[in-house]
């Protein structure tokens, strides 16, 4: 495995960079926020992303995608992460596409994948039920009543949950809280009777929802993957999501760091540029090193995933944990180095801090992934 981008990936990255810089600079995010956009992302922008082929990157060509792999979508996530570009890319093009393509029946693939690729639908993955990510703690129940599955429960913190047309839900068909066995995935339309989607406003102004399932009846074919195989499936889907999210977080770090470096080079105090202060120089150098380490971890995870590296779980946990810790460091240092204006809403740097903490929680924080990495490594 080479830890460099191939030509295809480099082209995707360049194209995403160009799009983010020109079409969706941070002001795009700011204006959606200021307008209290109910969806938190712009339909026109999403349409353009779809036209660039981004929604189909994890989708095979026969279903209208380009099959460029996780590395392909991750480099895009990294670039749009730099400008905090709001879009349903993570939930739809990564989680939804990967889940359906990997675990769906031929029929399900034919039904959903072309619609994802064409931008006709967006999706969301409903996993968490507690304040901390823990798929095995799922309590949402799916019971077979006659010919139908009946789902009851409440999911929370569902990324892009309030705008999604189609939901993929992790539910318990047997076993008890804490067990991975007995979990099953279902796919359904968000407007299904009994589904109540409650949009929640989190600190980073991404789209999130809590979702209540009140006696939601589903046909048998709503099963995504085999019954009781959801524990393993969700792990695979989540790991792809974690890697793509890590790439986005890396982009967040890179952008915040660059803004801060620029500030150090232009802001004067006591008659000199503050970038001449050695204490700040060394802290900047340390951030640089951490970002370099993060780049390597993300790169290895995304390239490894596409080469079916059998170390996917550990690599995903490494990437998510390190990306989270680096972004924590960089977002804090960036605000501090900006001084007073760093804590004003008028200035963009604070957006990265808010995004940092919310992204940290999505699909497990550093704690979760350190524990997982340690277990997988026999520490």
């Amino acid at each position: 495995m080479k830890l460099i981008l191939n030509e295809e990936q480099q082209m995707l990255k360049d194209s995403a960079k160009d799009f983010a810089e020109n079409r969706t600079p941070v002001n795009h995010f700011r204006s959606l926020r200021d307008d209290n956009d109910p969806q938190n992302w712009d339909k026109e922008v999403w349409k353009e992303m779809v036209e660039l082929g981004w929604s189909g990157i994890l989708i095979p060509e026969e279903f209208g995608g380009s099959d460029f792999g996780l590395a392909g979508i991750s480099v895009i996530m990294q670039e749009i992460g730099k400008t905090l570009t709001p879009s349903p890319l993570l939930a739809t093009a990564v989680l939804g596409a990967s889940a359906i393509n990997t675990f769906g029946t031929q029929e399900q693939k034919a039904e959903y994948l072309p619609k994802i690729a064409s931008g006709e639908i967006t999706t969301a993955l409903a996993v968490d039920e507690e304040s901390h990510h823990a798929p095995s703690n799922t309590l949402t129940k799916a019971e077979l009543v006659g010919d139908e599955w009946v789902i009851n429960g409440k999911k929370k913190f569902v990324v892009d949950g309030s705008s999604a047309d189609v939901l993929i839900v992790l539910a318990r068909t047997s076993g008890v809280k804490g067990e991975n066995a007995g979990l099953t995935l279902f796919i359904l339309n968000a407007n299904q009777e009994g589904v109540e989607v409650i949009k929640t406003d989190m600190a980073d102004c991404r789209n999130y929802a809590n979702i209540v399932f009140d006696n939601v009846s589903l046909a048998k074919k709503a099963l995504l993957g085999d019954q009781e195989s959801g524990g393993e499936a969700i792990d695979k889907i989540l790991d792809e999501g974690r890697i793509a999210l890590s790439a986005e977080m890396l982009g967040n770090s890179e952008a915040a760091f660059e803004m801060t470096l620029n500030y150090l080079k232009e802001r004067k105090q006591f008659g000199v540029l503050i970038g001449t202060f050695q204490a700040l120089q060394h802290r900047a150098a340390e951030m640089f090193v951490e970002i370099e380490l993060t780049k390597s971890a993300v790169m290895a995870a995304m390239q490894g995933a596409d080469e079916n590296n059998n170390d996917l779980q550990r690599m995903a946990s490494l990437a998510k944990s390190i990306a989270g810790e680096t972004l924590y460091l960089v977002s804090n240092e960036s605000v501090q180095m900006h001084g007073g204006i760093g804590v004003t809403d008028e200035y963009d740097i604070g957006f990265y801090m808010k995004r940092a903490r919310v992204a940290e929680v999505i699909f497990g924080g550093a704690n979760f992934h350190q524990e997982r990495y340690a277990n997988l490594s026999n520490f």
Partner: protein
């Protein structure tokens, strides 16, 4: 001793008669969110009429600044008497009658640097809560280099003409007067061309605009001076000698902020990181169920314990050296930031909630409180400035 005992009896009796029932709730004042705080001033609105009554009575006794001499409207109490007064106020759970930058910052400076006339004019009004003050120091671009300020006050013979802009003026939009640093000696070296000026904010040409922070609304404002005429008698101390007063005041502010680190820790309750961690991670055998987080909590709480002991030790030593204040400002604010980081981390997704009904108000408040702490290590002298001060003034490292 006999005198003090009879004084205690007097205080008890007076409080019994004069402290209204609703002012004895024992509630702590939480500066960030309390809505029924009393700050006084011309435009004060008293949701609870008893709080006005309580202020008036305490103000009349001069007990909002008990140690200040009676001639300036103070309580005229000795240190020992003040201690007794505070103990008695505490024992009935009395609310603070008046929150005031006038009391905390301006009055002490006036007592030291102002003319007799100025003291007699301004201090009683501060003590009675008649005039609400704000502080005009920082300017856009001045940052840590406060002395680089450029708001100018030109000597026009019978008055100063003030032009410029201040930022980070807390509650400027609700204050009656502002004490401001202005440049009176544009040709002087930067520290020696500064004067300390008192300005009535009702004067024509003064305007304010609130600042929104990453945490949301804030008491901070921008304050603009557009050809504002200020009478010459409003100058405190000598012309071009304002920096000395400013430094004394800054020291005061630094001491004030350094207590942040422990404020919440001492108050306990639902916002303690241990309680939050047990709630959100669960408990096993009475322990926080997440081992890695428990380990982080432990080292954090041990540092907090040692820091609390250090504050106590500094008190016991009676030391008031400015360098020690720098240490407390530095460590207290950094610790407070870390404490909030740990609290929101303990809460998972509930720690990053912003709005709506799906999360508790307490949770949403904590998200904002966390963001607000980011300013602690910037305002009142950045952490970097404090480290500079320690390394040079305490450790004697060369420049």
């Amino acid at each position: 001793m006999e005198h003090l005992e009879s004084f205690r009896a007097e205080v008890k009796e007076w409080l019994e008669e004069n402290c209204p029932p609703s002012m004895r709730t024992g509630a702590k004042v939480d500066a960030s969110s309390a809505t029924d705080e009393v700050w006084g001033g011309r435009n004060a609105v008293y949701k609870n009429p008893e709080s006005k009554l309580w202020l008036d009575r305490m103000g009349a006794k001069g007990w909002t600044m008990p140690t200040v001499a009676k001639e300036y409207g103070g309580g005229g109490l000795s240190k020992e008497e003040t201690k007794i007064l505070n103990e008695e106020l505490w024992s009935i759970g009395a609310k603070q009658a008046l929150l005031s930058f006038g009391i905390w910052m301006l009055a002490p400076a006036l007592l030291e640097y102002a003319s007799e006339e100025q003291k007699r004019l301004h201090i009683p009004r501060i003590i009675k809560g008649e005039i609400r003050w704000c502080q005009g120091y920082s300017e856009p671009g001045s940052g840590s280099d406060l002395a680089s300020l450029s708001t100018k006050a030109e000597d026009m013979g019978d008055h100063y003409l003030v032009n410029g802009q201040k930022v980070w003026t807390s509650y400027a939009d609700q204050a009656d007067w502002i004490f401001a640093l202005v440049r009176t000696g544009p040709q002087e070296p930067k520290h020696t061309g500064i004067s300390f000026l008192l300005i009535d904010m009702a004067t024509e040409g003064v305007s304010t605009k609130p600042i929104t922070l990453i945490s949301g609304k804030s008491p901070f404002c921008e304050t603009f001076f557009d050809n504002v005429k200020v009478p010459k008698e409003n100058l405190v101390g000598e012309v071009n000698a304002g920096w000395t007063i400013a430094k004394a005041l800054l020291q005061h502010e630094r001491n004030f902020i350094s207590n942040f680190g422990l404020a919440g820790a001492a108050s306990g309750g639902g916002n303690d990181v241990v309680t939050l961690a047990k709630k959100h991670f669960g408990e096993e055998d009475g322990k926080i169920a997440n081992g890695i987080f428990r380990s982080d909590v432990t080292t954090h709480k041990m540092k907090e314990h040692a820091f609390g002991l250090t504050l106590k030790r500094a008190g016991d030593e009676g030391g008031k050296a400015s360098a020690v204040a720098s240490m407390f400002k530095y460590y207290g604010t950094e610790h407070n930031k870390k404490r909030h980081e740990m609290m929101i981390a303990a809460m998972g997704s509930n720690g990053v909630a912003w709005d709506g009904d799906e999360y508790d108000q307490e949770e949403k408040d904590l998200t904002k409180a966390w963001l607000r702490t980011k300013g602690n290590s910037i305002e009142g002298g950045t952490s970097e400035v404090q480290l500079n001060v320690i390394s040079k003034r305490v450790l004697g490292l060369p420049s």
